[in-house]
Subunit: 283 residues, 2 copies
């Protein structure tokens, strides 16, 4: 039972499943951590303040150690982001999975949507792209920061709360930059021109590949970055950048929204690039 | 995004998993129906008005027909109980499952809890017991009403809303009367004496078994009845029964709460009966 709330409520649900979102050998602490992190990322993309969550656990068998480790992983993030567990459910299943539902409250002018981006807006992306996918590869094992990004993604909650005062639309990068930007563009009925030379490709990803095109590809379709993509009206661009700098939230302007539908990639010399095949598809 | 709410929020999450809560051959409409019904039953036990829900679907593969049937099953109940779907997620998994989270608003003096039953309260149970379990057996196939109870349980939402003004505590019967009453008693730090002769054993369950003790056993531990068990203070008992009669909500007084912890079963001649082994255990 939760108190009455004065602000609009934001709600989102997301699952992590063994063999899909994590491996059998992934430490259970990290599984719990990631389950809450990906849900907090959804709230971040709405510019919402995290408040409460419920957790449905499905598992083939349960040991105290396993439950404790899953719980500690969730609790670590829950404390940091001040979100309280208010309900749960446990059921038997052939595969381990955690399905969380998070509740948040909108701040400022209300929640950010993915469907309200406008032609002319600048397109920003937070942090860096590609490292989470790198952390999943055999090469990636040599890059501890990338493995950490894969196992313990950092939800951009503070940036989302800040962006609620500036951005016209937002989405988080879970299935890859190309996929998720595409969703925002479709939902908003606009297109985008993105300059690939401006993309904040993670430094480990650049280091791991001899060919720059391979690094670019991983940044574009790798997935699980849990960075925010933000559409910001041109007139608010400077104020937004100053606010991000003050709050130490790294963001990079990577392109602009245009009326022609779809995502266009443009290289450093102004040439159009083919879109790489989409990233992870659930079906 | 949901509007701000003035009443305390109630939230609950529950999953249905293939091979655990339904069979491979169960019609997908019924799977969707049951997934929402069991969650609405949780809100009913809180005396809460259903408002919103989110649905996380996990499946090995997805066909349009399957998604449509699951959706139609949920929509049928959602319309009746005026609960709106406000978010969802789809992921790949080896087993079909639906994990729903429901949000409701408390009415009257706020939500009913399972932990606030008092010594001296009368113990009531709604409807009838045992039919849902009967509907799962080979014998049960001869009883269409029992099969329907198993596949399309009826959440006691109206009774829960009514009971919010009378009861001191409530729980819904998902894992069997003995299991769930036991949970209420433990949470409240009380015991109960229940007269088995008063238990509203479903008429199909009585008909299906030659031995009355077998019918009693199914009613006690069968599970998935999704009836409400309500603790009602003695002084409100008559008013509660009148209100139930006016609202055509069948309830039966089956016993009384006592200070000695645990559930005691007493037969028609006042003899103590051994508790049957507990019903379905998830682990």
């Amino acid at each position: 039972v939760l108190p009455a709330v004065k602000a609009p409520l934001c709600v989102s649900t997301d699952a992590v499943v063994e063999g899909v979102h994590f491996l059998r050998q992934t430490p259970r602490f990290d599984v719990g951590y990631k389950a809450l992190a990906v849900n907090l990322s959804d709230l971040a993309a709405m510019g919402a303040r995290p408040r409460w969550f419920v957790c449905a656990l499905a598992a083939p068998s349960l040991t105290k150690q396993q439950v404790s480790a899953l719980g500690r992983g969730m609790a670590a993030l829950a404390r940091r982001f001040r979100i309280a567990l208010v309900g749960g459910n446990v059921t038997r299943a052939r595969q381990l999975s955690l399905t969380l539902t998070v509740l948040g409250t909108a701040v400022g002018k209300g929640p950010l949507l993915r469907s309200t981006a406008q032609v002319g807006d600048s397109l920003y992306v937070s942090g860096t792209l590609g490292a989470a996918r790198l952390g999943l590869t055999s090469v990636g094992r040599r890059y501890p920061a990338a493995v950490r990004r894969q196992r313990r993604p950092e939800p951009r909650v503070a940036l989302g709360l800040l962006a609620a005062s500036y951005a016209s639309a937002a989405i988080d990068v879970s299935d890859g930059f190309v996929n998720d930007v595409g969703r925002m563009l479709s939902a908003s009925g606009v297109g985008a021109a993105v300059q690939t030379a401006r993309l904040p490709i993670d430094s480990d990803v650049r280091a791991a590949f001899a060919r720059p095109s391979a690094a670019l590809r991983m940044a574009l379709i790798g997935g699980e970055d849990y960075e925010l993509v933000l559409a910001v009206p041109r007139r608010r661009r400077r104020a937004f950048e100053r606010a991000c700098a003050r709050a130490r939230q790294p963001v990079t302007e990577v392109g602009r929204l245009i009326s022609a539908p779809g995502l266009r990639l443009v290289d450093g010399s102004g040439r159009a690039l083919a879109l790489p095949k989409p990233g992870y598809q659930h079906f």
